[in-house]
Amino acid sequence: MAYTEEELKKELETKEYEYGFYTDIESDTFPKGLNEEIVVGISKKKEEPEWMTEWRLEAFRVWKEMEEPEWANVHYEKPNFQDISYYSAPNKKPKYNSLDEVDPELLETFKKLGISLDEQKKLAGVAVDIVMDSVSVATTFKKTLAEKGIIFCSISEAIQEHPELVKKYIGTVVPQKDNFYAALNSAVFSDGSFCYIPKGVRCPMELSTYFRINQAGTGQFERTLVIADEGSYVSYLEGCTAPSRDENQLHAAVVELIALDDAEIKYSTVQNWFPGDKEGKGGVFNFVTKRGLCEKNAKISWTQVETGSAVTWKYPSCVLKGDNSIGEFYSIAVTNNFQQADTGTKMIHLGKNTKSTIISKGISAGQSQNSYRGLVQVNSRAENARNFSQCDSLLMGNRCGAHTFPYIETKNKSAQIEHEATTSKIGEDQIFYCNQRGIDTEKAIALIVNGFSKEVLNKLPMEFAVEAQKLLEISLEGSVG
């Protein structure tokens, strides 16, 4: 097999989206457009209490006055927000007691994704709450969790069953008016997950949610709220795939994490939404606001593997409010063909002796653009704050781009901040060396990419790490002829 730079590029481009299919399930879809009526309609559809409807309306009114941000290093045709349908739910019975009751076609979809509930149930220690087009259709392992007092359900259910918790915490980390997309999400969020770990409880299993976008032209507005009460621990996994589609699909999720005193939250994401075809047509717009709040001695770790979406705008952040709190961000972002990613994190040091670590690995191929954007901010009262940041970029071919925008703002002289950055390229010499040892080019690229990403892959829970490794290979490799 001959190998030249040119061929490597070709190979990288020929990998088509593997999970491109569309499930034909009847849906109850709202007409396109957004106004107060629609917002109230969504709330009504979900039988929400009045305070929730009011909260949504407040957000909508703020959003109307806001403008879409333009500072990110991405270029795309802005969505027409009046040309999107804001609610869609599988219109068959929304809740099931057992798998037998679930639409067989839906089960088939999960099978294609390799995440059938059957499999998931067998995977020891993983409880799955699957969100398919906005309404949760199945929740498992609820009983085991309930025995520990852990609440893990859809956010809609939480609004009904645990309004006091939702009311107390929703919007406290990401306020309605935080940014354009967060405001939009607050107004129209369809569903999402809710998790509460009581004081001193260590969640015995990895909690996971799979999100899917399924209805043509339906924006997906997920809302996730995770609350770890004092001294508790939870590891939360979120994995996403979506069917391939011509038109751009908007996704504007909000995730709020609250780690109270001495609590720890580990939040891991594998994102593989349709990135658009190799001409750059279609693909998901992923404009996500993720933020966590750490109280005293608390710790939040974000780990993400981003391989999908046409445009990504995402900065999982930590507000280190409590003394001695810790924030971590481990990220792998892969862009290929015409994908654009502007992703990174914000570490806001407010408390004393707060620590943060940022490890970001960007891999760019094709004609894609991959940007790391990060902010490390040390407040005047944050004595002895420490940060370590490392941003590494790996380039394949010479038509892609890697960019790093690290911002550091410190108002306290005792702060210690370190930043390291490297850029490297997969070289023909590396490939030849592998070839000479009997390793073909496709395998060689997988090996090099996995090595490059290892520090981050190691942070993922075991079962996720395997899936993530597979995704990296899918995203970057072509079938070598």
Binding site: M1, A2, Q430, Y433, N435, L447, G451
Partner: protein, 250 residues
């Protein structure tokens, strides 16, 4: 085993090899010497199948099979191994993981299952002892931060693990101090057998004191200008390459 006939090779239209003839049989060790720029490393790369080089004329075959159409990894599967003069770094990939992948890919090409973990472990233990390699070394990222000696020792370790039919050692002595040289040479000597062959490419005679060749060839301006026994290496050491250059002109 290896048969090279009237081999001409170029890189970007620059002629480097201008008619090489060489036959290597099982059990033999051949040394290829020559001044800088004579084409020694190019010859190694062409045998291994590096794409940049274009064969303009002539042929290379291994056990009667023409190599020209084979990809580098296929040549490796057929038993060709090259110890690199400048081994590349692959960050995040441990020596163990790399060699495991290499061995299993070659096995796959031969229709075999992956090598069982305990067998692999045994092999690693055995070969790392042979080359006096510290076990901790095996968990380090491939060649990252390795000293010159460590890099070369790692190359020979891989050779020991892969048990090639034909090993080409490209300037394996460069960058080695005398102790490292002795360890590496000892390792190579222990791997010599009646079934495999080794081509040692070197600028200096020093390595050949430890790895004693059956034949010595002198390469100059893309051609083998003189072949002889191991004594030829000593003669070169004494007289330098200039007398051969003059001879070549005559």
């Amino acid at each position: 085993m290896l048969e090279i006939k009237d081999l001409h090779a170029s890189i970007e239209d620059k002629k480097i090899l201008k008619g090489i003839n060489l036959e290597v049989n099982p059990g033999e060790v051949h040394a290829i010497m020559g001044p800088n720029g004579s084409g020694k490393s190019t010859l190694a790369s062409v045998i291994a199948g590096k794409e940049e080089f274009e064969i303009k004329k002539g042929s290379i075959s291994l056990d009667g099979e023409d190599l020209e159409e084979l990809a580098p990894e296929e040549r490796a599967h057929n038993g060709i191994f090259m110890s690199f003069q400048y081994p590349v770094e692959i960050p995040g990939v441990s020596v163990t993981n790399f060699i495991k992948t290499a061995i299993n890919e070659s096995r796959k090409a031969r229709g075999l299952e992956d090598m069982p973990a305990n067998e692999m472990l045994k092999l690693i233990r055995e070969k790392s002892e042979l080359l006096e390699i510290d076990r901790k070394f095996l968990s380090r990222s491939l060649n990252e931060g390795f000293s010159g000696g460590e890099k070369k020792r790692n190359e020979i370790f891989q050779m020991a693990m892969m048990e090639p039919k034909l090993a080409i050692l490209d300037e394996t002595d460069s960058g080695l101090d005398i102790d490292a040289l002795r360890i590496v040479a000892n390792g190579v000597n222990k791997l010599r057998s009646k079934d495999n062959a080794i081509i040692v490419i070197t600028h200096y005679q020093r390595l050949l004191e430890y790895i004693v060749p059956d034949y010595v060839h002198v390469l100059h301006d893309g051609k083998i200008v003189k072949s002889g026994s191991k004594e030829l290496a000593l003669e070169l050491e004494e007289k330098g390459y200039d007398w051969l250059k003059q001879e070549a002109v005559l």
